[in-house]
Subunit: 274 residues, 2 copies
């Protein structure tokens, strides 16, 4: 693991690392914020999964999480959104290939060689973080858009590994959306039965979530038709799932939305992790 950069931030340290990934078969980059409290002992971890086109960097610089993580003593991990590099398959579209891993393990060519973001987040990067950073085995997970999809689907399928869950404007029902059907068919093939384990609404129906769940969604989001917040809200209500979907008046899909509510999400996770 190599340190790419380090910046003092809110009394803690904002680090960027790269490391060879066996899971993805390429060099991977991630960012880690370590709060001041990490100098005195291990702290809980909040995972932030990013959306389409993002790298580890977008939320690290624009999400506004560090201030609140420093206050509450949480580490924050910002993974990349796909494998990267010259030898990694890509697509001209912004929403397939590099920058658009969709947090699945691809089973179809040409993607299956490198596109294993599900295992990368759940297993490999988790181990790297636990082995190398001053964190303890308490994990929250959140994310934005495609990353909100990743956070919910990964948490619901791995309830033993995560202790708190939230999302910003998640893709909630990708088996029924153009943000989902395109990628799931490319990465997993046309048998839609294999898609269900990557659909937050279907997983919630099947498993529920062991604790309460916080979802923020902007009412002015330009991608509401693709995100389908109504699918998740409907299923949460049907299933009597503890939690809340907050429709935030006038907010769009940008980081101006994410950082407006970063405080609430960090507080939410801190209350459940500490």
């Amino acid at each position: 693991m190599e340190v790419i950069s380090e910046n003092r931030s809110f009394g803690g340290r904002q680090l960027v690392y790269s490391h060879p990934s066996n899971t993805c078969g390429c060099e991977m980059t991630f960012a880690a914020y370590l709060p001041p409290q990490a100098a005195d002992g291990p702290v809980p971890v909040l995972w932030y999964l990013s959306g389409l086109t993002c790298t580890h960097e977008n939320a690290m610089t624009k999400g506004g999480f560090q201030e609140h993580a420093a206050k509450h003593g949480l580490a924050v991990i910002f993974p990349d959104t796909s494998p990267r590099g010259d030898g990694v398959s890509d697509d001209e579209a912004y929403d397939l290939g590099q920058g658009a891993g969709f947090y699945v393990n691809a089973t179809r060519n040409p993607w299956r060689t490198h596109y294993r973001m599900y295992d990368y987040i759940v297993s490999e990067l988790r181990s790297i973080v636990m082995d190398n950073l001053p964190v303890r085995d308490r994990h929250g997970i959140t994310g934005h858009s495609m990353g909100g999809h990743g956070a919910i689907t990964i948490a619901l399928r791995n309830a033993g590994l995560f202790d708190s869950l939230s999302a910003f404007a998640p893709i909630t029902n990708p088996t029924q959306s153009d943000w989902g059907r395109k990628q799931l068919s490319a990465y997993l093939g046309d048998d839609e039965s294999s898609w269900a384990e990557h659909d937050a609404t279907l997983l919630l129906q099947e498993y529920g979530w062991k604790s309460d769940l916080l979802v923020d969604q902007g009412s002015g989001d330009q991608f509401l038709d693709l995100l389908k917040p109504e699918a998740l809200a409907d299923m949460m209500a049907r299933r009597r799932q503890p939690g809340q979907v907050r429709m935030q008046d006038g907010y769009d899909h940008s980081y101006f939305f994410v950082n407006s509510f970063a405080r609430d999400h960090v507080q939410w996770h801190a209350a459940r992790l500490n």
Copy 2:
């Protein structure tokens, strides 16, 4: 004045405008954050001047000012750092020409046609903001690096126009620094007597500042030799200038430094403007 973008942010509005500038002879872009309080009546204004290579966008997305401006009811204006466009002279160096206006009115060719950032900030953009946005005639000014230089020099020379002043890692003594001598000679010519009115330390010696002054500087800043915080600190002490220079342990020159202390600066200005 044309609206380029608008995003809801912390209950307020983050806007980007463009407008034809008579002063600079080109189209200019600036960002304006309007806090929720601006919906009910005019609010004070905090001007944030950016550093070398920046546009209106860097601090708008990475500075973390909106949350605190929303809390305290301040508008924040983020101007660009130079004239822009195909017809505007430029230089291959990052620290001269576009992105490096240095907040002076150039008197030398080829710069004098467009590079009039001093008048643009002090007069033209001020009028545009006052005439078009829900602000009242209470103005604070701050900035980072070259923008810290701009904030201090503009405030000291126009004490009637500004009510509060702070800076992040300002270039304090450009007549004695390679961040300064190069640009002042290019824009103003080799007669160094014309440079003094753009040197924060020399202006402080001559005029002082009518109120107190807050300066934050990272001790791990990679540009300390160019910024020369000791020149300003020395002059503040000699002149018994009310205020404080805070040497912040380990912080560098990045926006991770700026946003770590954005809260303090917004509070500082709000206490003096409200």
